[in-house]
């Protein structure tokens, strides 16, 4: 290992890279997980590249653990993960590039990965490929080898491949490509360290990296040379004329635009003429790459006998069946909710009873001599408000654990496949089901998740619909109030209200698609990963990042809101009935009366759910105060409304405008204030309309 000698040289290289620092200006994201990571200045930089679903994130997590930073690529709505780790005494900055099938600039992810590799020049790139779909995975490698970045290959999922009867001779593949290949089972942390060792060896001596690069088909070779000659010196570093010519021939929009802007007009018109004659070359180039891959893997891979039934086939005969698959999806759905509440409910009770109870008594002792206003604010405002919300934590954690397992097993893509037909009614396709499904946990990741959709139209519609998916916070509000509101009918009411949300989601989707988008259809092309055993670490990290972002929200927004509500309900004079908040709430009574809600405290609770949906309960808790003997908060609230108004209240709570965090995320993801305002207006109209209709219907029926 020549590592110690190499570090000073590297530092010089780093300093001459003006763009290096750009990478680390990460924007804050709702997904911020671990602590902020500052890259070591004199460290090596390794980029992780790979197609989606090849276990690239697992490799990243294995190497960096919690020592990672999740943000956005500057100015982009694509997630950026960076981390620092040490290997054999060398500090390494690891950059996880977005998962891409190619480097063709067909998507934002592909552009980001490509630009990073070309302009930031990492010391070495690690390509994670899927041994179970080797040819397809090597397509990206074929494109990577056309760039000037040293490369090593991690042959991941070797175990899944072997389960499916595919055997790969790693050294034969390495010899054919003249690129180091390391066998990996990232989920079991096998081969990960060896992979980094191989990457460091290549980085230490980049001159020795002379891979077998794919060449273009013979019939296109003269055209390519012609283009290279025409480009001359117009292509500036870090772009190479060879690569630019190849991308021009592939019809790459981005490269075409750049070249058009940088060459003289007469040269461009000649280039353009050549390109017009070879318009279909891109298909041949892709075909040529696959032919090259075929030659590379021929000697190295033993395929399963034709017609062998694999585990994936057997599971898919049910999971993707139009009827059984749907039944399975509903079953998993039901099970997920049953588990969430049976496992999480006792934990929640323990949290709110023992922990919050303890905290309250502790605060009472500490604040015994303090002014009434301060002890009131802390005990009745902050602890009661934010504390109740923290009790939702187990519900969220269990939900995300289940979701993480479903995702890691490879099931979620099947859910999307089964739902494709229904999503078509809304002009969407199966992929939109994935972000919407996330919405049951929290609407914020649902809005963020819409990034997986290629088309803006589909992304906008999915983002518009996401807040109509009832999140765990709203479900918890429902679960808290429904038993006291409706006794034995609580379960029926709960299911009915969830169904109402989903029906309205479908109706809005169909209507918006018909009116605003004129029923366009989007292309549905989605990979179905092979099933595999879930990895505890991957799932654990998923739960951790999502739950921590909730804790941050509870710790800041909700705490603040609880405090503000308490203060406003005690000013002036300390009497809630004469407070500012009461006056504001009473001003809303004419609107509330149509829904049968005349108690200002209930109206204020509804409005406060804008800060966070869980705030509904927290605010009711603050405003109704400590329950009298024999009563609970929920029964106290029930007592101020007739059944029709109670149902209207719950319906409005379920359909109300998205919470502040979701609104901010919608604005950030759509980049449009108009769309954000339209989304809020639509939900306000729907929720109020539903509330009024329900109450008035009950009144007419005399219930």
């Amino acid at each position: 290992m020549a590592t110690p000698l190499r570090i000073p040289a590297l530092r010089l290289e780093e300093e001459t890279r003006p763009n290096q620092s750009k990478l680390h200006l990460v924007q804050p994201s709702c997904h911020d997980g671990g602590p902020d990571i500052n890259p070591a200045p004199d460290a090596l930089t390794i980029a992780l590249v790979g197609q989606p679903n090849v276990g690239k994130s697992t490799v990243f997590n294995m190497l960096t653990g919690l020592n990672q930073h999740v943000g956005n690529w500057p100015g982009k709505t694509v997630e950026q993960k960076t981390g620092v780790f040490h290997h054999q005494g060398t500090a390494i900055n690891l950059v996880d590039l977005p998962g891409t099938y190619s480097l063709s600039a067909n998507s934002e992810e592909e552009r980001i990965a490509r630009d990073y590799l070309i302009t930031e020049r990492p010391d070495v790139a690690i390509a994670v490929v899927n041994a179970a779909a080797l040819e397809r995975s090597l397509y990206l490698v074929a494109e990577l080898l056309a760039l000037d970045v040293p490369l090593v290959i991690g042959l991941n999922m070797s175990d899944v491949a072997e389960q499916n009867g595919i055997h790969i001779e790693t050294h034969v593949l390495a010899a054919a490509l003249a690129v180091p290949v390391v066998r990996l089972v990232a989920a079991r942390n096998e081969g990960v360290r060896e992979l980094v060792t191989a990457a460091l060896q290549v980085a230490a001596d980049p001159a020795s990296f002379r891979p077998n690069r794919p060449s273009i088909r013979a019939e296109h070779q003269p055209v390519l040379e012609q283009l290279v000659a025409l480009l001359g010196d117009c292509v500036r570093d870090p772009y190479s004329p060879d690569w630019s010519a190849l991308k021009l021939l592939e019809g790459d929009v981005e490269v075409t635009r750049q070249i058009k802007a940088s060459v003289p007009p007469e040269v461009w018109s000649e280039i353009h003429k050549i390109l017009l004659q070879h318009e279909d070359a891109y298909l041949d180039i892709a075909g040529g790459r696959y032919e090259w891959i075929g030659r590379m893997v021929r000697a190295a891979v033993i395929q399963p006998r034709v017609g062998a039934i694999t585990l994936t086939d057997r599971i898919d005969s049910i999971a993707t069946h139009p009827i059984m698959g749907l039944a399975l999806l509903l079953g998993i759905f039901g099970l997920a909710f049953a588990l969430t509440y049976t496992v999480a409910a006792p934990l929640s009770e323990w949290l709110s009873g023992v922990v919050l109870g303890g905290l309250t008594s502790f605060a009472k002792v500490i604040l015994a001599g303090a002014p009434a206003l301060l002890s009131g604010l802390v005990i009745d405002g902050l602890i009661a408000g934010a504390g109740t919300v923290l009790a939702f934590l187990p519900i969220l954690a269990v939900f995300f654990a289940l979701l993480g397992v479903l995702e890691d097993v490879g099931y979620l893509a099947r859910g999307a496949y089964v739902m494709d037909r229904f999503m078509h009614l809304m002009g969407l396709h199966g992929k939109s089901f994935l972000p919407l499904f996330l919405g049951f946990g929290c609407n914020v990741p649902a809005v963020l998740g819409a990034r997986i959709l290629e088309e803006r139209r589909a992304r906008l519609l999915t983002i518009l619909l996401a807040p109509l998916v009832p999140c765990t916070a709203r479900l918890a509000v429902l679960a808290f109030l429904a038993p006291a509101f409706f006794g034995a009918n609580a379960a029926l009411v709960t299911i009915g209200l969830v169904a109402l949300n989903l029906v309205i989601l479908a109706v809005v989707g169909i209507a918006v698609n018909k009116m605003a988008f004129k029923g366009e259809q989007t292309a549905f092309i989605m990979e179905l990963p092979l099933y595999h055993v879930p990895n505890a670490r991957t799932v654990g990290l998923y739960v951790w990042t999502n739950t921590m972002s909730f804790v941050k929200k509870a710790g800041t927004l909700i705490l603040l809101a609880s405090g503000v509500v308490w203060v406003l309900s005690n000013v002036p004079g300390g009497d809630a009935e004469a407070s500012i908040l009461a006056a504001a709430g009473r001003a809303l009574e004419p609107a509330g009366r149509l829904m049968g809600i005349t108690d200002w405290r209930v109206l204020v609770a509804l409005i406060s759910s804008f800060f966070a949906k869980e705030n509904t309960i927290a605010t009711l808790g603050v405003l109704f105060g400590v329950p009298e003997a024999g009563a609970t908060l929920a029964t106290q609230v029930a007592a101020v409304m007739v059944p029709g108004a109670r149902l209207a209240f719950l319906a409005v709570a379920m359909l109300f405008i998205p919470c502040l965090a979701t609104v901010v995320t919608i604005r950030q993801e759509t980049g449009s204030s108009k769309w954000t305002a339209a989304s809020i207006g639509l939900l306000l109209a729907i929720s109020y309309g539903a509330g009024v209709l329900i109450y008035q219907a009950f009144r007419l029926l005399g219930i």
Binding site: Y101, E135, R136, G287, T320, G430, F524, I525, L528
Partner: protein
């Protein structure tokens, strides 16, 4: 579009093939972006494909280059293949 008719098997769109049928990719029809994405995924002329699932409506699952790819009905009518002998 003109289809060469060499061989006894006519060109078909993959959406019309039953589950279990296999063939070779003949061509793609549709927009540039669609064709490029499909080609990158391995649907290039001459690639072996096998229909893994097709219920006559809704999406289909196609195996190509060792991976499973779900295609919407519309997309599956734009992928032309030359079926192999049954």
């Amino acid at each position: 579009m003109i289809h060469s008719t060499s061989g006894s098997h006519p060109i078909k769109v993959i959406a019309d093939l039953p589950p279990g049928a296999s063939g070779m990719v003949h061509s793609l029809t549709g927009g540039r972006e669609f064709c490029s994405r499909m080609a990158n995924l391995g649907f290039t002329t001459g690639a072996d494909v096998k229909v893994r699932q097709n219920y006559g409506r809704g999406p289909v699952v196609v195996a190509v280059r060792g991976a499973l790819v779900a295609l919407g009905r519309a997309e599956a009518t734009r992928l032309l293949v030359r079926p192999n002998e049954a």
